[in-house]
Structure formats: structure tokens, C-alpha cells
Symmetry: C2
Subunit: 350 residues, 2 copies
């Protein structure tokens, strides 16, 4: 168990902890004294029918989801909805490699699946709050994979779903990419099989990993048109170091790897013996599939392929000049499109 | 100076050597006893007006260009043309880090530019063969960059140009990618600052580099549709190891880095003070700009942007399911499209 000030109330708070006890995982492991970190905004009404669940993406926490996707006057408005933002397992605030005591710490943290997140979140929503139906589940990237998993696993509970910039099953190309990203960390001598005593000693590996995100996570246009200038950076390298390396440096490498490997396993069709079409057919939520047009991780084509299997769903392509990391809401126009679509989705009778 | 059996007549022959003596480079260095390795096919006619110059790409040699782009009954047919295929400097067969004696060996090999290749090739064509005009210059990727450099530097000498899957100036996004690819090699402890005594000791770095090519060099569809099966591999990993790792493993890491850094500097506008439009305006060759539709290194959009500056040029998009590595001619349909376009280009009066 390591102390890492990054995963703290100071930086990501406020959040609450929900204790699940010993929590069994799909791949066979158990998280002892499993904890979910979550934040809520707004008030659950008496009918308990105004809840919106927001999931988190790779390396993200409740904080960025609160800041970029919710707020007064936004589509997901705490004045109208009871908003629950749940940190994924392995993400650093909920049970994760770095905050789990030995012997299941660090490299021995058990393997996770997206389904484990959904099972844990289900317990939180039903046991802690007595919520039986969700107005909306929404999330981006690995959070979109949780959204798909929710809608297919609990079709009666999810009224609306908005998976943004993610697929229900990790594509083979993404798997090749994720394996390569994992390798940027584990190939570094400082990684030491995951048994480092100081996560920041692995900084060169995290910087390398950040640069991989520069190549794949943004878009050619972002670089070729010099968009980093518009967001206050003085040069290309100033942006890569000042934004991407800065972002990943404080994080725990085992936590990141744990999430990347969960991402590798992400596959909504695990529940239907590998048949993707069947798994997506289970979804009854009104679903807006929202890929980003310049995304090089989750191409529109691949999202559209899945969308066609979801009954009554719609493809809503989000325009961004920032590729996958458009998710960070750097562009006002991005959040405007997100809100327009979510407003329409939330106004659709189900 | 290292012995590496990969760079040999057995594997890449037959080829000839042209000795340039001491050859001065744009970045300030000099290659002592500089040598160009080249192969020729067909016969130079008495008028010396049937020559076609074929350049080489990153990590490629004369052999693959001969096999994939020329041949009896092909557009570039030795029955009609005198075909000169020149190995680029740093490529392993021409003067390169691994075959240069100390003190300018290995990590001390001088910095190269695409313009150096064109200057050296100009000497070969004019001094060795007395060629004053070229029917066509054609090349892919870093070979396309040589093609652009040829057409802009010697506008009176190049009658036709066919840059395939490459840009005249390396884009910023490509620069970020190339820097990351370089890092996969130099971050490995076995790299040892480039002073390894056995290039194959750096194999883990070369394998990592190969996997980066898997992510960026092919296309999402190649993986997601399982195209590796069609070319005889039994699984995804069987393909990555059996094709991509196998391809790079025998090569010299310093040679690869030398080419990658040349690629970083590739910019036809060096001759016009950084003004790309002006440099491209210099071109008088009838030019077919031929990007690959699924290429993630040289996007159609970026190629088209440059094409618009070249007088009388045409954009001819090549369809491939293999992304940038479509260049290897894995698909019959790819070579068919190349030949159709080159036949039309060669038949165009200039």
C-alpha cells in the first residue's frame, strides 16, 4: 500500500466511500474490503426516479466528470437530477492496486473487468440509495464501455444511455494499441515488475506513455494546425510536457496498468458467449451512440457498427478538433454538442 | 563498423556501388568515401531519355522496390525503361552508420536530409549514366519525400513524379509519432547510446518499434477484420511477430534511427525559406499525388493540401485495407491501382 497524494480529497474531492465488503470478480479474484469512491450532486426525489449515473474513463476521476459534464444550466443539472459519479475500480480512488494492502497490492491486485464495475455500482445504487431505475447512464471512453455494460446487463434499469467515444467491445486494433501502451510502462527498468517503492521513480515510463497518448489520443489536425497555441502553450513540446506528461506524472503506474488491462478485456458480449449482436440486442435503453469524428482510438465506423445492433438507437457524431481527448472538454463547442444531445435524449419519453 | 549479413547481396542483390568520394551534407557533416548502392533494370537508350528513378522508403531497399513496383508487363517495365533503384543514405546498403568506419560510425554518423539523397542520386544519374531528364521519379513514404525533393530541386530534369503515401514536408503529427518511435529504441538499456557491439542485442527495442508500426502502420480495419488470416498468419500475435518483428529484427538500429531522423527533417520548403507553397510551385513535372485512403501516417487530407500547390497535379487516392503498409503490395488490387495510375502518368505527354 503506497501513499500517493494525487488520489486525495484535496485534488479530487469531495467524494464519499461506499464499502462493499469482500467483492468477487468475474476473472476469479476477490477484492477484500472493496471500496467505491463516488460523488453526488443534486437531490434524489421521493420517487427515486431522477438519478443519472456518470462513469469515469481511463485515468479520470469523479472530478473531471463533474467539471466537464455536469453543472447548473447544463444538460445534467443538479437542480433537476440526482447525479452519481462513480470512480471505476483500479482508478486510484476506489479500490486499486496502490491503495490495497499486501498481499493483493501492486502487481498482485486481481484482474478486473468492466462487468465488475457495473456490479459494484449496482450495489451502490440499490443498497445505498434504493434506486431501481436510472434516467440516464453516461460516460466516455472506458466509461462508455461501462455504459454499454450497464445497458446490456440491466436493460430494465437503464432508461437512457449515452456512450461517448467508446465501443462496447474493445476492437482488435485498440488491443494492439493498449498492449503497446502497457509496454511503454513495463519495459522501463524502474517499473521493476511493478514493485517500485516510489511511483514517481517510474516517471520516465509515464512520460513515454504520455507521448503515446500524444500520437494517438489527439488528432493529426490538432498538431498540424497548432491548436496547442489556442490553449495557452508556447510550443509543441511545451504542450506535450505541460499537458500530457503533467497529467500522467502524479498517477500510480500499477493503477494505470490495471485499468488498461480492464480495457483490453472490455467486451459486452462476455454475457452472450461472445456474440456482440446478441448482447447489444438486449439493450432497451434509448441510446445515443456518440463517437468523436476525429477519434483515432474509437473510430466512428466501429461505433456505428455496434450502434446498428442496438434497437431504436441513434448515431450522434460529435465534432472535435482534439480527437479522443476532445472528451476533456477543451473546446466550448464540444460541450455544447454534448449538452444538446443529452438534453434531447433526456427529453425523449421512455 | 559492424558486419550485418542482412545488408548483403545475398538478401538484397544484385546491386552496384557508386563511389562519390567525400560527400558534403546539408546539415554540415561529410560522408567520407560515400557510396550509393543501386540496381538497374532494362537498357538506357541512345537518347538517354527512357530513365525511371525509383527511390526507397524507411527500412526498405532496392529489392522490395524491384519486386513490388517493377517488372515485365508492369507499368515500370524494364522492356521499355531504364530503371534505376537507389538505396537511400542511411538505409543500410548505401553509406550508413553501421557500415561507416570510426570515428563517423554508429552514433557519430552525420545527420542526413532528404536533399542529401537527391544530391547524391543526381551525381549518380548524371556522372555515371549521363542522364539529363527523367521520364519519372517514383517512391513511397520517405521515398515520396525524395520524389517531391527531386521534382522541386530539379524541375527541368523531372518530367513526371509519383509520390506515393508521403508528404513533401513531414507533418507535426508525424513528427510526434517519429519521436515516439525513436524513443522505443533509445530508451532500451541495450541501446547503450548507440554503442552496442551486436545489433541483435537490441532486439527487444526493435520488437517494440515493430509493434508501434503495428499500431500506426496498418489500419484499424486490417486488425478488426482479421486480414492477417488472408496472408497466412494463424493469429494476431503470429502476424505481429512473424511479419513485423521478423521484418525489423535483422536491421541495424543506428541505421533505422538515422533514417527516422532524416524523416523528421524532411521538408521540401527548406529550399524556399520554409514556404511550402513556393517550394511546391517550383515543380514542373506532371505529378500524380497518390495517398493511401486508410493511411494513418500520411493522411489523404495532408497529401491533398500539398497537391493543391503543385501546378497541373492530380490527386489519385489508392484504396487499400492495409493502411500505410499497403505499400508492401500485399494486395493484388493495390499494385493494380499503382500500375493503372503510373501507366496513365507515363502516357501523359510532357
Amino acid at each position: 500500500m503506497l501513499i500517493n497524494d494525487y488520489y486525495s480529497h484535496t485534488i479530487h474531492g469531495p467524494y464519499e466511500l461506499f464499502r462493499l465488503g469482500d467483492f468477487k470478480l468475474e476473472e476469479g479474484g476477490t477484492i477484500r474490503n472493496c471500496t467505491l469512491a463516488y460523488s453526488t450532486f443534486g437531490t434524489l426525489n421521493n420517487e427515486k426516479d431522477n438519478a443519472v449515473l456518470v462513469t469515469t474513463w481511463y485515468s479520470g476521476t469523479n472530478k473531471i466528470m463533474e467539471q466537464v459534464y455536469t453543472g447548473r444550466g447544463r444538460a445534467i443539472d443538479p437542480a433537476h437530477y440526482f447525479i452519481v459519479i462513480v470512480n471505476q475500480l483500479g482508478g486510484g480512488l476506489s479500490s486499486s492496486p496502490h491503495n490495497t494492502p499486501a498481499p493483493f497490492s501492486m502487481s498482485r491486485f486481481p484482474d478486473l473487468c468492466v462487468g465488475d464495475d457495473v456490479n459494484a455500482q449496482y450495489k451502490l445504487l440499490t443498497e445505498q440509495f434504493g434506486i431501481e431505475r436510472l434516467e440516464l447512464v453516461v460516460g466516455g471512453s472506458l466509461g462508455a464501455q461501462q455504459t454499454y455494460e450497464w445497458a446490456a446487463r440491466y436493460p430494465d434499469m437503464v432508461k437512457r444511455a449515452a456512450p461517448i467515444a467508446g465501443t462496447a467491445r474493445t476492437t482488435t486494433h485498440d488491443a494492439v494499441l493498449i498492449e503497446s501502451m502497457i509496454d511503454t510502462i513495463i519495459s522501463d527498468p524502474s517499473w521493476n515488475g511493478g514493485w517500485y517503492t516510489n511511483p514517481h521513480a517510474v516517471h520516465a515510463a509515464l512520460r513515454r506513455h504520455a507521448r503515446y497518448w500524444a500520437v494517438m489520443g489527439l488528432s493529426p489536425g490538432f498538431f498540424n494546425e497548432g491548436l496547442w497555441k489556442e490553449i495557452g502553450f508556447s510550443s509543441l513540446d511545451d504542450f506535450i510536457v505541460g499537458f500530457l506528461e503533467h497529467y500522467f506524472l502524479p498517477m500510480d503506474p500499477n493503477d494505470l496498468l490495471c485499468q488498461l488491462r480492464k480495457h483490453l478485456r472490455a467486451d459486452v458480449s462476455r454475457m452472450t458467449g461472445g456474440t456482440l449482436h446478441e448482447a447489444l440486442l438486449r439493450i432497451r435503453a434509448k441510446t445515443f451512440v456518440m463517437p468523436i469524428d476525429t477519434d483515432m482510438l474509437f473510430f466512428v465506423k466501429d461505433c456505428e457498427y455496434e450502434q446498428r445492433s442496438i434497437p431504436g438507437s441513434e448515431l450522434r457524431i460529435i465534432r472535435s478538433r482534439c480527437g479522443h481527448l476532445g472528451l476533456f472538454g477543451i473546446e466550448k463547442e464540444f460541450t455544447r454538442q454534448i449538452d444538446t444531445n443529452l438534453r434531447e435524449l433526456l427529453a425523449t419519453p421512455v
